[in-house]
């Protein structure tokens, strides 16, 4: 859509307390013009509070929300001109599909003929052409989701907000809609803020992800960076599968785990305690006669469980130090892991480029 100009959103020191509990604790976040940013966090982390504050449905205690250069924190929701897709869709049951989608246009005083054309255009974008006369109760869950989306962008808002819009759909439809939403976002070019607790959904769709926990931003970065370079324990643990091994620093300054030397020096000398984050799929099962080399950090242990899951399989490997690693591997005919059995001793290696070291938080 040609005349949509996306707006950046700037959130500054936004704070909201419920009683003694911080729902948002001096949150600063710059959302770039036209990007797809996901607020990801567990339930109760403050992600929905933040989205509702952007939409204007809840009043923060302090802070600023800028759309472009305009301070919005005092503006009532109906004057903010942002589109929103609700978790419950919030479609009006007393209006047809076309009336629902046309509602924001009607409120903006757009004449019937143009309204009709734009409604049809929006329905076409979400692949619902010709369903305008249907009642809301005649639609499937997926179709309702599309109507809610069409209604949210038909008035060409410069910001689009989505609150877990896919959570009510079954897995297959959800995965299909993720790709479709991404596609529509690219087509519209509108700044999009998306809320989800599903990390896979966040990784699939986002330009950037803001991981939020206890009302604070834990990390804001691209999906690749969030996954490959988590900056703290919470992000490492919340995104993807991981095993965290506490490392010790020996007299030469090397970081070690048991007999395995993980790094020759700490990434940041000012911090003493480090943990190694291991993604199960980055571990390789090594040949029996392999030795630790320059490429690998090697761990040895005993297989306690081998589990087949179809597309992948995993084995639990109990290390001599006591920790248990999960090793994930393919199930193809030549996969090294597919011959593992419980009770077998095994060596696994982690390529040095895949090392994730994060400062350990003192308990």
């Amino acid at each position: 859509m040609d005349n949509t100009t996306a707006l950046p959103i700037s959130i500054r020191s936004l704070t909201k307390k419920y009683g003694d509990l911080f729902a948002l604790k001096t949150v600063d976040l710059e959302i770039r013009s036209g990007e797809f940013l996901t607020l990801l966090g567990p339930s109760g982390s403050g992600k929905t509070t933040l989205l509702m504050a952007i939409a204007g449905f809840n009043r923060p205690d302090s802070g600023s929300i800028f759309f472009g250069d305009a301070e919005m924190v005092l503006t009532p929701p109906h004057k903010r001109d942002v589109g929103m897709v609700f978790q419950s869709y919030a479609l009006f049951p007393h209006m047809s599909v076309a009336e629902n989608v046309g509602f924001p246009l009607k409120l903006r005083g757009i004449a019937f003929a143009e309204r009709k054309a734009r409604v049809e255009e929006a329905l076409e974008t979400v692949q619902l052409s010709g369903l305008g006369e249907r009642g809301i109760d005649q639609l499937s869950g997926g179709q309702r989701q599309r109507v809610a989306l069409a209604r949210a962008f038909v008035f060409r808002p410069r910001i689009l907000l989505m609150d877990e819009p896919l959570s009510a759909l079954d897995k297959k439809l959800r995965e299909q809609m993720q790709i479709e939403l991404k596609h529509i976002h690219r087509q519209l070019g509108v700044t999009t803020v998306y809320v989800t607790h599903d990390q896979r959904e966040a990784l699939t769709m986002s330009d950037r992800i803001a991981v939020i926990n206890h009302g604070e931003l834990a990390q804001v970065d691209t999906p690749e960076a969030i996954y490959n370079k988590p900056s703290n324990e919470f992000v490492a643990d919340f995104i993807g599968e991981s095993t965290m091994l506490p490392l010790t620093q020996d007299s030469a300054g090397r970081l070690t785990f048991g007999e395995s030397v993980v790094a020759s020096e700490a990434p940041d000398p000012s911090h003493n305690d480090w943990s190694l984050v291991i993604r199960p799929e980055r571990l390789r099962v090594l040949a029996k006669d392999a030795s630790a080399g320059d490429q690998h950090v090697m761990f040895s242990g005993t297989v306690t469980e081998a589990v087949f899951q179809g597309d992948t399989a995993f084995a639990l490997v109990k290390l001599r130090g006591g920790a248990t690693l999960t090793v994930r591997f393919g199930t193809g005919a030549v996969s090294e892991g597919s011959r593992l059995e419980a009770g077998q001793s095994v060596s696994v290696g982690l390529i040095r480029e895949d090392l994730i070291l994060i400062p350990r938080e003192s308990a």
Partner: protein, 302 residues
Amino acid sequence: MRRTISTPGQTQALNEVALSGQERREQWTLLGLSTPAILVIAIVVLVPVGWLFYLSFVGSDGQFSLEHYKKMVEYKSYARVFMTTFQVSLLTTLICIVLGYPLAYFLAHLPGRWTGLFMLAVLLPFWTSLLVRTYAWLVLLQRKGLLNDLAMQIGLWDSPIKLVHNMTGTLIGMAHIMLPFLVLPLYGAMKKIEPDMMHAASNLGASPVRSFWNVYFPLSVSGLVAGALIVFVLCLGFYVTPAVLGGGRVVMVATQITAILEYQFDWGAASALGVVLLVATIGVLYLAGRFFKFDSALFGKG
């Protein structure tokens, strides 16, 4: 294992006969269980109404006649009674809507812990005798009643205003008694409106006033119609309150029926009035049913 007997040309699937027999027996059992209720309804509703219907067509000579219905058309007083009945019912319903809509809205949007308390306040009159409540209004509204005394003391008016034994008193009493019947279905309908609906309306650009008229009100209207209809229909046949607070000046159909029975012992005429009222009520329900989709509150379907 039992084997099904199959006749030539028609084979039966395994256990088909036994299973369908079981289903039939279950249906008969259910019917048997509801028989007492059906019988009670037949005896206490259908028989008396049928008897009423029959009586209304029996003339003073004991033969079939339309004389009671003819009288109703000929005498202006009957028309006036029906006019009054519809007028009082309509006005009471309107007053209940004006008072009840904001009340139901208030109740539906109270924080949870307060709902119980305020709901109790609405329902409390339900649990007190109708007669007591009506006489209480008489005490409050009469010439030397509380309201007149108070108003004159603080100088609102100089001499007692006639608040009772007229239309005003009747409407005040009726509205008070009918209010919960309007508020309850309306409250139910409002509770079903998701808060997200209003968020969506304002998010799409609707001011609070437009959100209310374009979204909230249409979504609550099914409850409003259900409540208004209950009130209107109950008002049509109401007796105690207009009789006491109307002081003989507000003659509604029910009051008229009593008068005919008390002074003329004319069962035929009284029955005919009853039949006309019944038909009028059914007519109102039918018309309303054609114009509105009813809420589950009234007819048990969405």
